[in-house]
């Protein structure tokens, strides 16, 4: 289920800078607390089947993308995009339901954790081969051109690792050839699982790849949510105005393991101490307080409200039934008459 607030979300142009920043910050905070909750449930054991993948350190970039999109746009997030998902309209309850395996969740137990989505609402559930999502976004945008539906954009988010895949190359080139309103966001977070960027690519910046495709590109400090908001907003606007595909390369550091199973001892301590290792949430909070757009009591109230929202969702999802293998319809085709069944004797 999607938040109805999305329907009434004013476009960025009509909101003040203060409102946009505060809204983005709240999604960042919500995502961080939600992620921490999943991590705690994972460590407690038994509640979560499968892995937990956090967006720690990437919430600023993620929220900036999500908040720059509008209802009707398409969003193909990466695994660290809890903030962007929430900003785009995914409910806390849907993410909790998916992690906890509620039958009422959008994936009904058939898929889990970060593979959740809501296709009808434009939120695509990723397959694990993340680069493969880009051309699917292209296809939705091409279909809208066929259908003469203009003015929407599609955002696809990947990490530095996915830029090494053939799917990435094929899809970026395809979007450029078709001049599609694609916004491709690359979170260059220094590690693809444990592989450092030095073993991933040899160019100075991933942004250099854009010229080869004939695609516009902006680079941004991914730890600075205000800069991310500006760059994401501009890229989405250009794509919306038929400006063709837009690439954003944001440099930042993943402030967690690949998943919660990964203690990430391989992360270079020097990187953690460098500007890339700044926690975007702290940067955002300092920025808002310095601007006088947020004070300590407001911050405390925001944290309380978020904690309550998440606890409520967790409590509800825990009361909901798990998927029932005996009630499950074991059928992968729409065409029931062509399904082969389970081959049971």
């Amino acid at each position: 289920m999607f938040q109805t607030a999305l329907d009434t979300k004013p476009s960025q142009e009509t909101k003040s800078a203060r409102d946009i920043h505060l809204s983005a910050f709240r999604y960042m905070m919500l995502a961080r607390v939600l992620d921490d909750k999943f991590a705690a449930l994972y460590r407690a054991g038994g509640k979560i089947h499968g892995g937990v993948f956090l967006g720690r350190g990437q919430e600023g970039l993620s929220a900036a993308i999500g908040i720059s999109l509008q209802k009707g746009d398409v969003f193909a997030p990466l695994i660290r995009d809890a903030a962007g998902r929430l900003a785009f309209g995914e409910t806390v309850l849907d993410s909790v339901r998916t992690y906890l395996g509620s039958a009422h969740g959008p994936m009904r137990g058939r898929d889990g954790n970060v593979h959740r989505g809501n296709v009808q609402e434009g939120l695509l559930p990723m397959i694990s081969h993340l680069g493969a999502m880009i051309s699917v976004v292209n296809g939705i945008l091409l279909a809208r051109r066929f259908q003469k539906k203009f003015g929407t954009v599609g955002a696809a988010c990947i990490g530095d690792g996915a830029t090494s895949t053939g799917s990435f190359h094929e899809a970026v080139n395809q979007a450029a050839v078709e001049k599609l309103p694609l916004v491709l966001v690359i979170a260059d977070n220094q590690y693809a699982y444990s592989t450092p960027t030095s073993r991933q690519f040899a160019c100075d910046s991933l942004a250099h790849k854009a010229a080869g495709y004939g695609v516009d590109v902006q680079t941004v400090d991914g730890t600075d949510f205000s800069a991310c908001l500006k760059v994401a907003g501009e890229a989405v606007s250009r794509a919306r105005r038929e400006g063709g595909p837009q690439m954003i390369v944001a440099r930042l550091l993943r402030l967690c393991g690949h998943g919660e199973h990964d203690v990430a001892e391989y992360v270079d301590p020097e990187l953690k101490k460098s500007p890339l290792g700044r926690d975007c949430l702290n940067v955002a909070q300092d920025f808002l307080i310095q601007k006088n757009w947020l004070d300590e009591p407001q911050l405390a109230a925001m944290k309380d409200e978020i904690a309550h929202e998440i606890e409520t969702a967790v409590a509800q999802a825990q009361r909901e039934p798990a998927p029932d293998p005996f009630a499950e319809e074991w059928r992968a085709l729409v065409s029931g008459h062509l399904s082969e069944g389970t081959m049971e004797p």
Binding site: N138, A143, S167, E170, S339
Partner: protein, 321 residues
């Protein structure tokens, strides 16, 4: 007028484009050029903007189709050769085939695979990979053997709400002719008795149907009557029609142009063994291509795949048991 298998595929696409505004064609050289085999000849001109040349990007071609299908379109993707679809394999089996099950959103795409061997085509333009796709849940895999089926099954493929792998045999493209297009057809999922007989059932599909028919003609001069089941679709597999035929003949030979390990012929024997073991008067047999890449030179190619002669020889051995 007569019409080839290839022209039937072109006509089916023309009709799909004419009848359904959601249909479009996407593939390499399919536009003004009309496709490597001319299966989309003149369609770009007749249906402006709806027959699009793609970059050489099989992965992105299928990804694009999945996205368009999500948005309500009915894309037909032409792979230049079935062999090249392996570059887009991930999108087909992991993206397209899982979408409906994961999300409840249908993925009505048709991926056309010009497949199978022709003399001189070599290892990378000849492969029969229908079984690899059939292995994955969420896909329908069609293998028409006649001009009529090429036409009607392609139309049905586009109309189905599921992803369809449409395996059209290149050897049949120009060899096979029919007087006219069919007005009605067996539905997808039903096998066809291509020839009735009492002594032995040959289960096969696509180009091998014609090799089997030739073998059956030869054997009939020796007094044997061979029944031939044309599967038409390898997924779903019409086990009922196969078992009913074996019930009549008591003997089973499965013939496929694909490689021998696993695959359609092995699946048929497995199913008949499970569901109709008592119907068999002799151990079921299978005949496939040799377990090497498909060779280039005609002499090698002709010996690599099953032929009317090798089918007749295998059938004779089985008939004498």
């Amino acid at each position: 007028m007569s019409l080839t298998y290839l022209e039937a595929i072109r006509e089916a696409q023309a009709r799909a484009l004419r009848d359904d505004p959601r249909v479009f064609i996407y593939g390499q050289d399919v536009g003004a050029f009309g496709g490597a085999f001319k299966a989309t000849k003149n369609l770009a001109m007749e249906f402006p903007g709806r027959v699009l040349d793609s970059p050489i990007s099989e992965d992105a071609m299928v990804g694009m189709a999945v996205g368009a299908a999500i948005e309500g379109m009915r894309p037909i993707v032409e792979m230049q050769f079935a062999d090249f679809s392996l570059v887009g394999f991930n999108q087909i089996v992991n993206q397209a085939a899982t979408l409906y099950w994961r999300t409840n959103v249908p993925c009505p795409i048709t991926v056309r695979l010009p497949f199978g061997g022709t003399s001189g085509s070599g290892p990378f333009h000849s492969q029969c990979i229908e079984a690899i796709y059939a292995h994955y849940p969420g896909l329908i895999v069609l293998t028409p053997a006649t001009v009529e089926d090429a036409y009607s099954m392609l139309l049905e493929a586009v109309a189905l709400d599921d992803p369809v792998i449409f395996c059209e045999h290149k050897f049949l493209y120009r060899h096979l002719k029919a007087e006219k297009l069919p007005d009605e057809a067996l539905p997808v999922g039903k096998a066809r008795i291509a020839r009735e007989g009492r002594d032995l059932t040959v289960v096969t599909y696509s180009a091998m149907v014609h090799e089997a028919l030739e073998a059956a003609n030869e054997l009939s001069t020796e007094g044997w009557e061979i029944e031939i089941v044309d599967l038409r679709s390898v997924k779903p597999l019409d086990t009922d029609t196969v078992v009913a035929s074996v019930a009549r003949t008591g003997k089973l030979l499965c013939v496929g142009e694909a490689w021998p390990w696993g695959g359609v012929t092995a699946e048929i024997i497995s199913r008949v063994s499970v569901e109709g073991f008592g119907l068999l008067d002799a151990p079921p047999q299978r005949l496939n291509a040799k377990d090497t890449p498909v060779p280039y030179h005609h002499n090698l190619w002709a010996a690599h795949r099953p032929t009317a002669r090798s089918i007749a020889t295998t059938a004779r051995n089985l008939l004498r048991q």
